[in-house]
Each structure stands twice: as C-alpha cells, then as structure tokens.
C-alpha cells in the first residue's frame, strides 16, 4: 500500500462521465458529432431534468393551489418544493423572496413596472452600463418614457470592462436604481457587482442584477451579494425554457403593487374591492409554468450531485484553452478581453462575416451563436455588425474547442 490510500485524492473533473448525463450531446449534426458551444444562449438538459418533467406530466399533473384532490396536492408540493430548492441554491432568506416568472426578461419588466414606475418622478435617474443585454435596457427606457425619468449609461473600456469607479461617479442624488449585468452575454466580462451593490446600498440606491449569464458559472449568494433584486432564466442553467426567477428582498416586494391581476394572486375578490395574496403568490397571477418550475428544481438538484467547484474550474480551463486556440488564428480578433471573464469568447474574423462563419461551423457539427447577441450598443462600441460567440459549460471538452479552431481556419481559407 502506498500513501495514496490515506490521502484524499484530488480528482480532475470527469467531463466524459458528466456528458453521459446529457443525452443530446450524443447526437450528430451533418454527420459530425455535435459540439454544442452555444450554452450562453441556452444550455442543454440533463436526464434528471427530463425525467422530473416526464414524471410530473405522467403522474402528478393538476392545477396547483386550488384542488383538495390528491393530484393537485402533489403538483402543489412539487412546485413549491422547486421554490425551496431555488431559495437554497441562491441562499435567499425566505421562500417569499423567490418569485417564478417566465425568465430574465419578464423579471426585469416586472421590477420596472411594479417597483420603478410608481416610484419614479421626472428627472430621477436609472443607472445601467454600456454592456447590458437589450432586456436590461428596453424595460428601463419604457419606464423612463412613462415617468420622465432619465436613463444614465456607465461606460466600458476597450477591453469590455466596466470599472466600479466609473459607475460610482454616476451615482447621484437623483439615482433611484442601479441595474447591471453580473456577466456580459456578449463579451463574457464579469462585473464588479459586489462593490457596485455595496456602493449603491451605501447611497440608498436600489439595485437589480441581471444574473442570466452568471448563474451557470459561479456561486450566486444573495446574502453575500446584498442586492435588492437578482434575476435569471432557468434554461441557461439546464432547466426548461419559459421558467425563471425574480429574487427580491422581502421588504421591497411587500411594498410593491402586483404586476398582473388574476387568479392565485388574490385573497378575496368582490366587485367593490380585492385584497391581494401574500408573497410570493401576489406576483404569480394565473396558472404558472408548473412543469418548468419542477424542471428548474430538478436542474438545481442535479447541480447538487456534481462537484460544482471542479465544474467551474473546468469551465475556466476551457476559457483559457479557447482563448489560446483562437488567438493563434491570423486575422481573428477576440472581442472582450476583460481580466475576469466567464466561459465565453466573442470574436470576429477578418473578411468572414459572423453569419457565414456560423453556417460553415454548423456544417462541421459545431453550434455557436452569431449576431449582435441582443447587445447592439456593445456591437456599435466595437464597430462590428456582429460577432461569433462560443460559450462553454462543464460538459464541453478541449477537443470540441480544437475542432472550433480548425473549422474557423477552414472558413478563413475559403474566404481568402
């Protein structure tokens, strides 16, 4: 016996084992093994999620919060169990702080209309940054139009970094709300949210963090972040589409009026007066996406079964490998070179438009995103109509990235 038997073994992340959990990764596209590098747009589902949704649909479906019959009680228990799972995953203080919504976009619109709109006066300011997704721009522009408030945009530098000082410099006496991404979807930049949130809170500014791109790649802890609203979509973290989460600090949610009226969000209704239900139901009018919520609960439970620290380290290693492989290609420019990035690389290739690149890579079985990534101000900043974006999660491999590199070279040769 050697000493290995008594020392804890540090195992590298077993990517090949984890890939077995995602059935879609075994398929072929154009007779090539699929290399799915479009996780920033939507991640794939593990069997655990597919099975949980299937089990619900086969055995437990009924409407929730309504029936005294067995199925309704089972469906309610599964749906509310998913809420508890989300609460634990993001370390919310209470299940009342976890609202199910359609996704990040709906969550931001809810906060804009239900929190910001009643509060804002003409001349008040909403502070965002230059690298936001359209979903974190347009709802604020709409509420500005409705109230006469002003949208203030904090700059980014040529690396696609947002500096805390630059944002803080724009926090003024009229700033009512700070809304910023945790991770940029177009560039991969990780923003200094902890500091920004602390600065905002010190000035009495309420904050919203768009966590759509952060939730798959890092620990997201509501207590250590100390933000007021945090929003994300289920499908970027291995759950089905059409379900997402609005985390809100309970004291704020209590004060906010409901966003939509209907069933489930009321206590009593008469034609003279309606009283609203308590949190979280006040914001969940109508029959929600029950199977989606159950799928999201199952996705987060699945993440609990893998070594997440090792998975995130693997994702970082993939980022470094992709950066190295792509930087070696002549005529390729990486767009977004922040010091701290999540596992995605946006790039442009001389004389090859991103859409042509996307078509050529697809023929090689490689799925990437091409376009403006719903971040037109970012594209304008870098004077590009579009970029190609490869985004990785823990089930991706070095080999897939090497294939990406070879395919980009092939595209470049075609257009030379």
């Amino acid at each position: 016996m050697n000493s290995a038997a008594t020392q804890p073994l540090v195992l590298p992340f077993d990517v090949m084992r984890v890939r077995q959990d995602f059935p879609i990764l075994a398929r072929e596209v154009h007779r090539q093994p699929l290399a799915y590098l479009d996780n920033g747009a939507s991640a794939q589902r593990p069997l655990a999620v597919i099975a949980a949704v299937d089990d619900y649909e086969r055995h437990h479906h009924a409407n929730i919060h309504r029936g005294v019959h067995t199925l309704s009680q089972e469906a309610t228990a599964l749906y509310e169990g998913a809420r508890d799972r989300v609460m634990r995953h993001i370390n919310a203080r209470s299940r009342n702080e976890v609202l199910f919504v359609r996704g990040t976009t709906e969550a931001i619109n809810l906060v804009a209309q239900s929190y910001a709109r009643p509060l804002l006066k003409a001349g008040d300011e909403i502070l965002i940054t230059h690298l936001e997704h359209h979903a974190n721009i347009v709802p604020w522009q709409m509420v500005c139009e409705q109230t006469g408030a002003k949208l203030v945009v904090a700059p980014m530098d040529v690396h696609g970094e947002v500096h805390a000082e630059a944002v803080e410099a724009l926090m003024g006496p009229r700033t009512r709300l700070l809304a910023c991404a945790h991770v940029s979807n177009a560039l991969g930049t990780v923003l200094p949210v902890r500091r920004l949130l602390a600065s905002a809170r010190a000035r009495g500014i309420v904050s919203l963090v768009d966590g759509a791109q952060a939730i798959p790649h890092m620990d997201v802890d509501m207590q250590s972040l100390a933000c007021d609203f945090y929003v994300f979509s289920g499908h970027k973290v291995y759950a089905p589409t059409g379900i997402g989460v609005l985390y809100g600090r309970e004291a704020l949610l209590e004060r906010m009026p409901p966003w939509q009226g209907g069933g489930d969000m009321i206590l009593t209704v008469s034609f003279e007066r309606t009283t609203y239900n308590a949190l979280p139901y006040k914001f969940e009018a109508g029959t929600p996406n029950i199977s989606g919520a159950i799928g999201l609960g199952a996705a987060l439970a699945y993440l609990g079964t893998i070594d997440l620290a090792a998975a995130h380290a693997h994702e970082h290693a993939l980022l470094l490998h992709a950066t190295k492989v792509l930087s070696q290609i002549e005529g390729l420019r990486i767009v977004g070179t922040a010091r701290e990035k999540a596992s995605l690389v946006s790039f442009a290739v001389d004389a090859v438009h991103a859409h042509d690149l996307g078509t050529i890579l697809d023929q090689d079985g490689i799925a990437i995103r091409t376009g403006h990534h719903c971040a037109m101000p970012v594209m304008d900043f870098f004077k590009l109509p579009a970029t190609a974006r490869a985004s990785f999660v823990f089930y991706n491999t070095y080999e897939e990235i090497d294939r990406l590199g070879a395919s980009v070279r092939r595209a470049r040769a075609m257009f030379r």
Binding site: T359, H372, P385, F415
Partner: protein, 152 residues
C-alpha cells in the same frame, strides 16, 4: 447539402469585390433594407430614366450571401426596364424559396449561382434582402417615403 453549393466561386468573388458598391447621385429612389437579427444592412439607390434603370448602387454591410446577392443584382438589373427588373425579381424569389424551381433558369444567368441558398433555410433571408429592397424601390417613383425593408 454541401458548403460548396452555397459558397460558389462567383459568390465568393462578388463578396470579395462587390460591383456597383456606393451610392447613386441624385437618385430617383433610395430604400434601406435591414435584417436586425443578422445586422445585415444595405442602402439601395437607383436612377430611373423613364422606365429604364439607368444606374443602381448599393452600400452597407452584410454577410457574403447578402453582399454577393446585392452585387449580382445590381449587375443584372442595370440598364433593364422596370418590367424586366420586376420579372427578374419574381424569378429570383421563386429560385430562392421554391425547391421545385429550375436551378438553371437561363433567364437568370449568373444569378443562378444563388440557388444553393435554398438548401440553407436560415440563409434565404440574407440572399433575398436586397431583392425585396429593389422591389420596394421600383414600386414608387419619388425619393420620399420608402419604408425600410426586412426579410426577417
């Protein structure tokens, strides 16, 4: 479905060296085509002398398919009458969207090189943007009031 069917030499050539790139001075019509999801954006200007397209140019940015399609289009319709250009537009529309259309329509000449696009449904909108922009430009005579065209 082969990449070589899509990116034929004539398309790569017109992408590399677009013909009639720029703007016509004092145009009879100026119409913008824009596919916001792609970022493809072109401005088409043309000069009519009577019923004849005396000059036509395009500028903007886009993928190889949209650039080559616009370049080939300007070559094909320059000097043609409005009716002839409309006929070419209709043939092209059929070529790009109808699987049963003759991929070697002799009336289309070099434009037939774009027939490979229909095997790539996601790219049909790239090839057709300039054509719908042309149709809009031919539909009205004066320079004002053309709404932007999109094929998304």
């Amino acid at each position: 479905m082969q990449l070589a069917d899509l990116y034929r030499d004539v398309i790569l050539d017109h992408n590399r060296v677009p013909r009639n790139f720029g703007a016509v001075e004092a145009p009879s019509a100026r119409v913008e085509g824009f596919n916001p999801l792609c970022g493809d954006h072109l401005v088409l200007t043309l000069k009519l002398e009577g019923e004849r397209i005396a000059d036509i140019r395009f500028e903007g940015q886009g993928c190889a398919i949209s650039t080559a399609s616009a370049s080939l289009m300007t070559e094909a319709v320059k000097g043609k009458s409005r009716a002839e250009a409309t006929d070419i537009f209709e043939r092209m529309h059929k070529l790009l969207t109808d699987d049963t259309a003759d991929a070697d329509d002799a009336a289309l000449g070099k434009l037939a090189a774009l027939s490979g696009v229909r095997e790539f449904p996601a790219r049909v909108k790239c090839a057709s943007l300039c054509w719908h922009t042309l149709a809009s430009a031919l539909a009205v005579k004066d320079v004002q009031g053309h709404p932007a065209v999109t094929t998304e």
